[in-house]
């Protein structure tokens, strides 16, 4: 297990900055390049990196696979729910203006965009991880040694 020492130390060092970068990309999407998709993918990449260094089983302890379907659903419903909320408030689907109607400066639009981007981020991160878990967790038909 010492063979992967440098790799593992590097991954440990990188893990937190990657997550913080993902959060930055998530919430800075209004001002610079980036947004929910990119953030979600970067977030998933952090865990993929962890799995590569420590093995998929360790990663599954950090982020149990059972949580992921919930997060996927929450992500989609965050987005769709924002739309439904605007419907219930009496405006068209995804018309964010109604979320803060008195504001002169489109606070409604800002709230709406932040909410939906958050939904995108959660959904993409958890879905990408789900897909990765399923691939990485599948027993290969032919063991590595047999190739």
């Amino acid at each position: 297990m010492m063979a992967h020492l440098i790799l593992r130390v590097t991954i440990k060092l990188l893990f937190a900055p990657i997550i913080i970068f993902a959060l930055y990309v998530q919430f800075h999407g209004d001002y610079g390049p980036g947004g929910g998709f990119q953030a979600g993918v970067i977030f998933a990449a952090a865990f993929v990196l962890h799995a590569l260094g420590f093995g998929i089983d360790e990663t599954k302890k950090v982020l149990p696979p059972k949580v992921l379907p919930w997060l996927m659903v929450i992500g989609v419903l965050f987005y769709a729910g924002t739309g439904v909320a605007t419907l219930l408030l009496g405006e068209n689907f995804l018309d964010y203006d109604i979320l803060q109607p008195d504001s002169h400066h489109h606070a409604g639009q800002h709230i709406g965009i932040i909410l939906v981007e958050l939904g995108v981020g959660i959904a993409v991160a958890s879905t990408m991880l789900t897909i990765f878990y399923h691939f990485a967790g599948r027993e290969p038909e032919i063991r590595d040694e047999d190739w």
């Binding site: 379907p69 996927m72 689907f93």
Partner: protein, 512 residues
Amino acid sequence: MAIPGLEQLPVLPVVIPLVAAPLTLLMKPGRAPWAWATLVSWVTFVTTLLLLEGVWVNGPIEYAMGGWGAPDGMTAPLGITYYIDLANALVLTLVAGIASVVFPYAYYSVESEIDHRQTPAFYTALLICFTGLLGVTITGDAFNVFVFLEISSLSTYALVAMGARNDRRALTASFNYLVMGTIGATFFVIGIGLLYQATGTLNMLDLHQQLMGQSNRMVEAGFAFIITGIGLKLAMVPLHLWLPNAYCYAPSAISAFLAATATKVQVYIILRFMFTVFGFEFAFLDVALNAFIILGIAGMFYASFVAVFRDNVKQMLAYSSIAQIGYMLLGISFGTVDGVAASLIHVFNHALMKAALFMGVGCVVLRIGYSNFSAFNGLAKRMPWTAWGLIISGLSLVGVPLTVGFISKWKLMEAAFQTQTIIPPLLIVLLIGASSLLAAIYIGRLAYAMLLQPVPEDAEPVKEAPHLMRITMWIMVLANIWFFFQTDVTVGVATRAAQALLDTGLGYGGAY
């Protein structure tokens, strides 16, 4: 709007299944996801009916997503708009109606063909597919069509592959479908890109306005790519190779649902692009219409001919679907209100027949375990309800009077006589008749096996299919008869829908 206070009605047919689909994933395996999916399909069906009524009474409805409609002085809306006229209201109602019958039907079939633990994900995928089909139909934005097309396609690939529990060929079928479908979708995107480059807009009605009178090479190539792309997804004849196996090896409920809805939605997209977007004096349109005549007739004959020799009833029906797509293309190719109306009528009627037929085969697969012809020997004695349902809907497929199939073919022949195409109308009518004869042969083969062949000696006694499956199947069978007598419903709506399609297309009734 039909009912005051329902200004948001146009968005509901898509939003309801869209919100419901993710929730299904979290349910316990078994009854709950199925019941939920069924409930959702019924609620959606009601909203589409209201929408159809609203459009029938008040004319086309537009709905701007996010409130981003067309600002003053602009011909195009800023965001995505829904544009609902009779044509897509009809297809929407059809898709939701089929779903509301096939989803309840699915329960026993899915329990036997899918692993119990996978039912929540299965019904989630089914609802996502349903959402995608509705989203494609209802939207008025060309790029939005692509997004929802891919929503329905991706879930379809997974659903088709679920047939691997019965036959591993479902996997290769699904993979071929994925490759061909993705190429089709990418062609479609290229086409939209070329049109966008020529016009700067993505809204269908605005595309029409901007394109009118333009006939440069970009537009021509864009048109060709869109038609080829959708042709791939539609399984138009030289591009049909993914369809037979995909429908054959998919789980029974999925075959029934897809055969009755997916290709119908693609026919609608073709209609929408040909007549709403490109509906003006456009040289390529005539080329395409002529090509459709050839491809339509080629499909009618080639696929019917192949169907006669299939040993697997599901595969036979899948080939028959390709042949029926030929009839729809033929109707479109006339380029007249009657022709398009005939095509829409056949879209509607064929959905009813194929749903009933695939549901019947699903009952047989549930009880006997496979769908080769040998499973059908003596079926009229073993499972009389299923057998007679199959026979009646088969007669409808042939086009026998007292069934909707007759209406389809009658209208198609009527339309043929009123148009001038490269093929003389009399010949077209004869060809339709000859192709129906081929249908009579393969349906006759099925009926012969069920009625006259003896029950195999070593066959274990089987029970009739569960009540739920029988009832839902017979709803479809009876619909095949009922809509023969209620022609004013289908023919009336379809004729006005065709009128609307050609009118917006030919530049009179632009919405802006």
